[in-house]
């Protein structure tokens, strides 16, 4: 049987909806899910899910955060659900999906529309986002100077009186 992994990057409310479409589109697949620790019990409530893997980190999905259980695991399909139409704001999850061995990576948007992502499309998106990141760091560096100088003073001014 083919193996499919869902990276739970959205709320369970949305996944309830996406899962109906995923089950319909991939009927011959055994479906597993990767979720943060607090989501395990909630993910186990799905009838269509074979195995629930734990993402053993507090923070969001990141390329550098390896999941030990996936070291020798190959998936036929990895699905990245996103809370919007285009997947904007989810590049970290898409990048994380590249750290998994998978034949196919598919984005599933809020309307449960599917879009296959090639390695090339992810690479070009990565290059574009790298340029954006450099620009945003430059802008931030300029502002950070003022923040470091003035924010501590401003924070003291809004502190609740009589509290330690």
């Amino acid at each position: 049987m083919k193996e499919l992994l869902i990276i739970r990057s959205v709320s369970f409310q949305q996944l309830d909806r996406n899962l109906v479409a995923i089950l319909e589109r991939y009927p011959e697949h055994r479906i597993s899910i990767l979720t943060h620790e607090h989501g395990v019990l909630l993910a186990q409530k799905y009838k269509g899910i074979g195995h629930v893997y734990v993402y053993p980190y507090k923070e969001g999905f990141k390329f550098k955060n390896k999941v030990p259980a996936f070291q020798d695991k190959n998936f036929d399909v990895v699905i990245v659900p996103v809370t919007n139409i285009t997947g904007a704001g989810f590049f970290n999850v898409l990048l994380f999906s590249l750290s998994l061995k998978a034949a196919q990576r598919v984005l599933c948007n809020v309307r449960s529309e599917f879009k296959e992502l090639s390695g090339f499309s992810l690479l070009s998106l990565g290059l574009k986002n790298l340029g954006i990141a450099v620009l945003s760091y430059l802008c931030t560096a300029f502002l950070a100077l003022f923040v470091i100088l003035f924010l501590p003073f401003k924070l003291r001014k809004i502190e609740k009186k009589g509290e330690s």
């Binding site: 709320s11 409310q13 109906v20 019990l41 409530k45 969001g60 620009l135 945003s136 923040v147 502190e159």
Partner: protein, 302 residues
């Protein structure tokens, strides 16, 4: 089982059909001592008139203008129940949820919030495992917790001790919309109470399968993320988090070709005076361990 009075509190603004459906579902809730409070944020679509006619059991409180989440605080102040169930205008508890919530509170005096497992009203019943039918039997150990971090709660379904909510000052009215639950969570945890999700306490929510193309969600999520940091984090964490958030605002503004995140960032700084007297840093342990996914602010728009 002891059945103390429980107050269900929700607010609404021009969502007549959704609210009425939720109120009909609330009538089916299996709990003997329940009061329902709806605070109407000056709807103009006939919502308050319909509630008054169709749902005479509901305590309706009418605002003269849309005051955002501050309307919840009006509802909380008027609640008489020992426990409060917080809902959205388009969410409602599963039939047994309130009874189970009360049992959990009564069993554990340090439990401050019972966070419901909020599910999609349209699809959840199609995808849930029948072996996990809400019998209570399958959910002996039902707290969906994590060993290394803490969680806030979802305002579409959460139970809270009324007295605790009062002590922490209810919701932060200056937020107007979004991240209010997280701000309240900081203060609840800082008082030494727990916030736990429970798999057997379910609420249904009408999750919309469309983009939030309105400016409201990205604006308020982003602005309030700054305020959340400034109100609650110790200085040593607030500084790097602020700089990181500024960087994210630039990054996602460029990625999504929108100025909304930069406008929200400017609004946060310009209106920082609204937080006067409201900053109370939590302990470093809570600040470090409470999981706040700030990037959510940048994922709704496109």
């Amino acid at each position: 089982m002891n059945t103390p009075l429980v107050s269900i509190v929700t607010i609404c603004w021009n969502r007549k059909a959704d609210l009425c459906e939720s109120l009909r579902r609330i009538r089916e809730v299996d709990y003997p001592d329940l009061e329902v409070i709806v605070v109407d944020n000056a709807s103009t679509d006939g919502t308050p008139e319909l509630i008054a006619t169709e749902f005479p059991e509901v305590r309706l409180i009418r605002m003269y203008k849309n005051i955002g989440i501050e309307a919840y605080n009006i509802g909380f102040q008027n609640a008489r129940g020992e426990y409060i169930v917080i809902l959205d205008d388009d969410s409602f508890p599963q039939r047994d949820a309130v009874r189970r919530m009360v049992a959990k509170f009564e069993r554990d005096p340090q439990l401050g919030v019972v966070a419901f497992d909020v599910r999609n009203f349209y699809n959840y019943d199609d995808v849930k495992n029948d072996a996990f039918k809400e019998t209570g039997q399958a959910f002996r150990g039902t707290a969906a917790t994590a060993e290394n971090y803490l969680l806030a709660f979802n305002g579409a379904g959460a139970g809270v001790r009324r007295e605790l909510l009062r002590e922490v000052g209810f919701y932060p009215e200056e937020f107007f919309l979004y991240w209010n639950e997280q701000d309240t969570a900081f203060r609840i945890l800082d008082r030494g109470y727990k916030i736990n999700f429970f798999a057997d306490v379910v609420a249904y929510h009408k999750y919309s399968p469309t983009n939030r193309s309105s400016w409201r969600a990205p604006f308020y999520y982003t602005r309030n993320a700054f305020w959340l940091i400034w109100k609650n984090y110790p200085l040593g964490m607030a500084l790097p988090l602020t700089i990181r958030l500024i960087s994210d605002c630039f990054y996602f503004a460029l990625e999504q070709q929108t100025l909304i995140y930069l406008k929200a960032m400017i609004a946060a700084f310009v209106n920082m005076g609204r937080l006067k007297g409201k900053r109370k840093p939590v302990t470093p342990e809570i600040a470090k361990n409470l999981r706040i996914p700030f990037n959510v602010a940048f994922t709704f728009y496109r």
